[in-house]
């Protein structure tokens, strides 16, 4: 269905929203019931909805009829409305990754553990089983934490008279399981660290090529054919770099799971895989979009009037890049 079906300018119906929503529902239904057939059907319907959406968008020429309104008044006055929308969307994304990090920091700081530890210390004092010379909560906690960041089971066991023992920490080799974070394995030697480093550069470089594509698309001096080719090639490089990123990441996951037995069955593993996985999904969605952009460049759909769509995409892509710049040190290095 295209815009031509309607005479009325202000009222463009679209099947895309209802189809894409139905697809999302079927997908989640199948995944919840662990039924891969239904999950696959859901993905197909979702993709169908997305294609319907893009078919509506393909003739977009940057005009107001096609939805490119200009904002009025404070604070976005003069900016295109879709750009304002992207900035607002990124605000939500900041909170998404903020929640990931908030939860992660809570685990790394051992905040929850400390409270539980203090409860147990109090109990040890009340029942008189605390270690020799330990009469208040702080001294017990301190005795537990001889190594500043890593409470040691043996020490805690003594200090609390056995209240904080192996089962309290759910531990495998003396230190609490949650302390085996991915960084311990990744920073172990140069060759395990390398894929992450390459990924970081790949992503930063891909941000640069998006800007080059935008610059080419906005260049009115170029001949249309040359411009399309340039846009297409720069976007294709971005696609390639993003794909490298994902492949290396999957390789790295594989390595961590099989060589180090670092899986989602520990809290640190859950955080690592879900956070980096969520970031990977953002990259993947970006790559789907960019495939559509390359197709549009291939059929000659870009000109300086509608090139701002690449800019808006670039904002999203830069954000994904930026998120990685924070995830990399937090999850890989520290």
């Amino acid at each position: 269905m295209s815009y031509d079906d309607h005479d009325d300018h202000g009222h463009h119906g679209s099947w895309a929203p209802i189809i894409a929503s139905l697809g999302t529902m079927i997908f989640l239904f199948g995944f919840s019931e662990a039924n891969m057939g239904i999950t696959a059907i859901g993905i197909v319907v979702l993709v169908w909805g997305m294609f319907t959406w893009w078919k509506d968008d393909l003739p977009f020429d940057g005009s107001e009829e096609m939805g490119e309104l200009e904002a009025y008044g404070t604070p976005f006055g003069g900016m295109k409305i879709r750009k304002a929308g992207i900035w607002l969307f990124l605000m939500s994304e900041v909170m998404i990754f903020g929640s990931f990090f908030g939860a992660y920091i809570r685990m790394r700081s051992g905040w929850n553990t400390h409270w539980t530890l203090r409860d147990k210390a109090q109990e040890a004092i009340d029942t008189g089983v605390a270690g020799e010379g330990l009469t208040d909560i702080d001294s017990i906690v301190h005795a537990c934490m001889t190594d500043k960041h890593k409470p040691l089971v043996a020490d805690c066991n003594d200090a609390t008279g056995g209240l904080v023992n192996e089962t309290f920490w759910i531990t495998d080799a003396g230190t609490p399981a949650y302390h085996h974070v991915a960084a311990e394995y990744i920073t172990a030697d140069f060759w395990t660290l390398l894929p992450g480093a390459i990924n970081t550069f790949a992503l930063i470089l891909s941000s640069f090529t998006v800007v080059l594509a935008l610059k080419a698309a906005k260049n009115a001096d170029l001949e249309a054919r040359v411009r399309d080719k340039k846009v297409r090639n720069y976007l294709a490089i971005t696609l390639l770099l993003g794909t490298i990123f994902l492949i290396l990441k999957l390789w790295e996951w594989n390595h961590l799971i099989h060589d180090y037995d670092f899986t989602i069955s520990t809290l640190a593993g859950s955080f690592f895989y879900v956070t980096t996985g969520a970031h990977g999904i953002h990259v993947f969605i970006g790559l789907i979009f960019i495939t559509y952009f390359i197709y549009k460049a291939h059929i000659g759909g870009w000109d300086p009037n509608n090139a701002q769509s690449i800019e808006y995409y670039g904002l999203y892509w830069h954000f994904v890049d930026l998120a990685w710049v924070i995830i990399f040190p937090a999850f890989y290095l520290y």
């Binding site: 099947w15 939805g67 903020g98 929640s99």
Partner: protein
């Protein structure tokens, strides 16, 4: 009869009904009264913990045959071992058949007035055998009622044995052989699940029929299937803000009733002590769905409906910023309800309450949440998507598409409130999305975010949930603030008092809402320092809210109030919301919260603010803006009736809950065993049924007035924000030319008919410039 008389009479009628109903609500006897037929001939007393066992009760009876029923009672609190006399008694009734004493029990059991009871000697034991001879006719079902009493033996002698009694009742139904297959079919009690599903399916069928009827009435001549398909296609593919708003409204209204059905079902369960109308699983999933439905599928979509309809009209925009994303927001919401309800339809409804506390919600199996919970959590993830999509839309529209002259400080208060609410929602929602994604992954692929046994952190869920959850409850109340501000100003025929302070109060609530979430977790063992901080920040919220209340009162003070139905709802809002706000001030005090936590006092508080606040505000908006959407006014008489019954009903339902809460009745419990709570609970249930029935008046009013309501014209109430300058219903796109909003202070000479009249008065009375 004049209008006033009708109003007075309907008011009196409701009061009369309420008065007539109240005294009849007495506690249901679960024990036995003092009179002979209701049990033992000598004792009376309350229900106890006595267990009654009957061996030999047949599955079905053969006509004329005798059955031996071995009755025994036991009570761990009153052990019979050391007693020699006055140990127990029983009274057995059957709806048909005759009784006699069993072999060797003739001196212990006797026939009395058609039933069986113990003899004086039989008072000293706890086991009896009764012979029941079945009636000749096999086509019937015989009901047995057995009252059993464990006596402590101390109170010797008839008449003064009341103190040591512990009564309990045993009931059974035995069908005759012919009643089993064919003949008179066995009538079983309907399963509440089936009742709920039948009611919902019936509602949806009615609703679909209504849709077809609406289509038919639109154009009776053009009524055919192709036309219907084209009409449905228009609604399924629409991206116009008014049509999407209508979809939101119809959807939320439907779910308001579905949520109500659930609440009435579990109110029936709670009406008397030790009731078993619902099983525990049913009760759990019903209150879960009641809460989730009312918050996410009724209140928020209704707010989205008004935001969709009114924001572009109030700020002079042709449509929302991203019409297709707006439509997508609605459809994601619509499909999410299938996931949320998927579990109930299969009898495995989610039973984790709307707060979805881990680790119960994150674990399955015998000690975890039921199987439908996974689907439910997936539905919540979809709800999060939906609200993000609609949030980006509203914020972008308000920030970027205000017409010339509509500056931030001249924006109508409803738009301001929608902006604050959506900004809050938009910032807090990611925490819920991430929290539920963690939960979903815990349940599906086996991560351990909330599994304490694997080092997970259940309290993390509470933090993520309430970081969203507390702003969320402001998200549903703040738009009601905006609506009440609009309605009261219009009804008082002046501008709102202290516009600027209203805006700052809204923004203040918006900011404070993010730093108070800990008061939901005061009893979770959090650090005492944090408890103190959360206590103080929570109390701060009362300040901007108080500013708003006083501004509304000041608006009324200086105005000349016109009593329309929407005015009544807003005035009702002022009363009930203030009471709800005051009871809310009990919770931040950590000490009091320890007592009130998870009692009905909490239920009373948040229903006062959600029903008395949000719902009253929304109803006010329905009566206020219905003419703008349809071009016809709602019926004022029906509106008054609806208001009076709902207002009285609402207070009758939720006010007694304060007392129950203070007395310690816990919320989220399937039943209770304290007899003294029965009276208030029965009253609450009856009031809830009346209040629920009253909502059909509104539904009927909406349908009837669509066709037969009084024509309203552009501005039926005398409002002066931009939406009243366009036609009713507005054109598509909503403005052909973008309007420019003036300032009455500067421009009022441009309206000669109002100089010295309405406008000068209203701006003189305003605290703003």
């Amino acid at each position: 009869m004049s209008k006033n008389k009708i109003r007075v009479f309907s008011l009196l009628f409701v009061v009369f009904i309420a008065l007539a109903a109240t005294p009849q609500i007495t506690s249901f006897p679960t024990g036995v009264g003092a009179n002979g037929n209701a049990g033992c001939t000598c004792h009376s007393g309350g229900a106890g913990t006595t267990t009654i066992d009957v061996v030999g009760m047949p599955d079905s009876f053969t006509g004329g045959e005798s059955y031996e029923l071995q009755i025994s009672i036991s009570n761990p609190a009153i052990p019979g071992g050391e007693l020699t006399a006055n140990m127990g008694g029983f009274r057995l009734f059957a709806s048909a058949g005759t009784f006699g004493a069993g072999e060797n029990f003739t001196d212990l059991v006797q026939e009395l007035e058609g039933g069986a009871t113990h003899t004086e000697l039989g008072n000293d034991v706890r086991d009896w055998v009764v012979i029941w001879t079945a009636p000749d006719s096999e086509g019937q079902i015989v009901d047995f009622t057995l009252h059993g009493n464990a006596v402590n033996g101390n109170a010797v002698g008839a008449g003064n044995g009341n103190t040591g009694d512990a009564w309990s009742t045993f009931e059974a139904s035995v069908p005759g052989a012919a009643a089993l297959g064919g003949g008179g079919a066995l009538i079983e009690q309907a399963e509440p699940y089936e009742v709920a599903i039948a009611a919902i399916s019936f509602g949806i069928t009615l609703f679909s029929l209504m849709l077809v009827y609406v289509f038919y009435r639109n154009n009776p001549e053009g009524f055919n299937l192709n036309g219907l398909a084209a009409w449905l296609k228009k609604w399924l593919t629409t991206t116009d803000h008014k049509e999407v708003g209508t979809l939101y409204f119809v959807y939320s209204f439907l779910f308001l009733f579905i949520g109500m059905i659930f609440s009435l079902l579990f109110r029936i369960q709670l009406s008397v002590a030790d009731n078993d109308f619902l099983t525990q699983d049913q009760y759990n999933s019903f209150f879960t769905l009641h809460g989730t439905t009312m918050i996410f599928l009724a209140a928020m979509p209704m707010i989205a409906a008004f935001a969709n309809w009114i924001i572009p009209l109030q700020i002079g925009a042709k449509d929302l910023a991203f019409p297709r994303i707006n439509a997508m927001g609605f459809w994601v919401l619509a499909f999410s309800s299938i996931l949320l309800y998927g579990g109930v339809m299969s009898g495995e409804g989610a039973d984790i309450s709307w707060t979805m506390y881990a680790p119960y919600s994150s674990s399955g199996g015998e000690k975890g949440a039921s199987a439908g919970t996974t689907l439910f959590v997936a539905g919540i993830v979809m709800l999060g998507m939906s609200s993000t999509l609609s949030g980006v839309n509203f914020i972008a529209t308000i920030m970027a598409m205000r017409a010339p002259g509509v500056t931030w400080m001249k924006m109508p208060l409803f738009t301001w409130s929608a902006f604050v609410a959506n900004a809050m929602l938009y910032i807090s929602l990611p925490a819920l999305i991430i929290g539920t994604v963690y939960l979903y992954l815990d349940r599906t692929i086996g991560t351990v975010f909330y599994t304490a046994a694997s080092g997970g952190d259940p309290i993390l869920w509470a933090h993520l949930f309430w970081f969203f959850g507390h702003p969320e409850v402001y998200v549903v109340i703040v738009p009601a603030f905006g609506i009440v501000s609009e309605v009261l100003a219009t009804s008082a025929k002046r501008s709102i008092f202290g516009y600027r302070s209203m805006v700052y109060a809204l923004a203040g609530i918006g900011v404070l809402g993010f730093v108070v979430w800990g008061h939901h977790m005061l009893t979770s063992g959090m650090d005492p320092t944090l408890r103190l901080i959360m206590m103080l920040t929570t109390m701060l919220v009362a300040i901007p809210t108080g500013v708003k209340i006083f501004n509304w009162l000041a608006t009324l003070w200086g105005g000349s109030l016109v009593f329309k139905t929407h005015t009544l709802w807003s005035l009702g809002f002022l009363v009930t919301f203030t009471m709800g706000g005051i009871s809310g001030m009990f919770f931040p005090v950590a000490g009091l919260d320890t007592h009130f936590h998870d009692t009905y006092f909490v239920v009373a508080h948040f229903h006062y603010v959600l029903v008395g606040g949000t719902i009253f505000g929304m109803f006010s908006a329905i009566y206020y803006w219905y003419p703008k959407a349809t071009g016809r006014k709602l019926d004022e008489k029906l509106g008054l009736l609806h208001f009076v019954i709902t207002f009285i009903g609402m207070n009758a339902v939720f006010w007694p809950m304060h007392q129950l809460g203070i007395e310690g009745m816990p919320r989220r419990y399937h039943t209770y065993s304290v007899d003294s709570w029965t009276e208030l609970n029965s009253f609450i249930t009856l009031s809830a049924l009346i209040m629920g029935a009253a909502q059909f008046i509104l539904a009927w009013n909406l349908i009837k007035s669509y066709k037969y309501g009084e024509e309203s014209g552009k501005d039926p109430w005398g409002g002066w924000s931009l939406e009243w300058t366009t036609t009713s219903p507005p054109p598509t796109p909503s403005f052909h030319e973008i309007p420019t909003q003036g300032d009455a202070n500067i421009d009022h000479h441009a309206y000669p008919e109002s100089s010295g009249g309405l406008f000068s008065k209203m701006w003189k009375g305003s605290g703003s410039k």
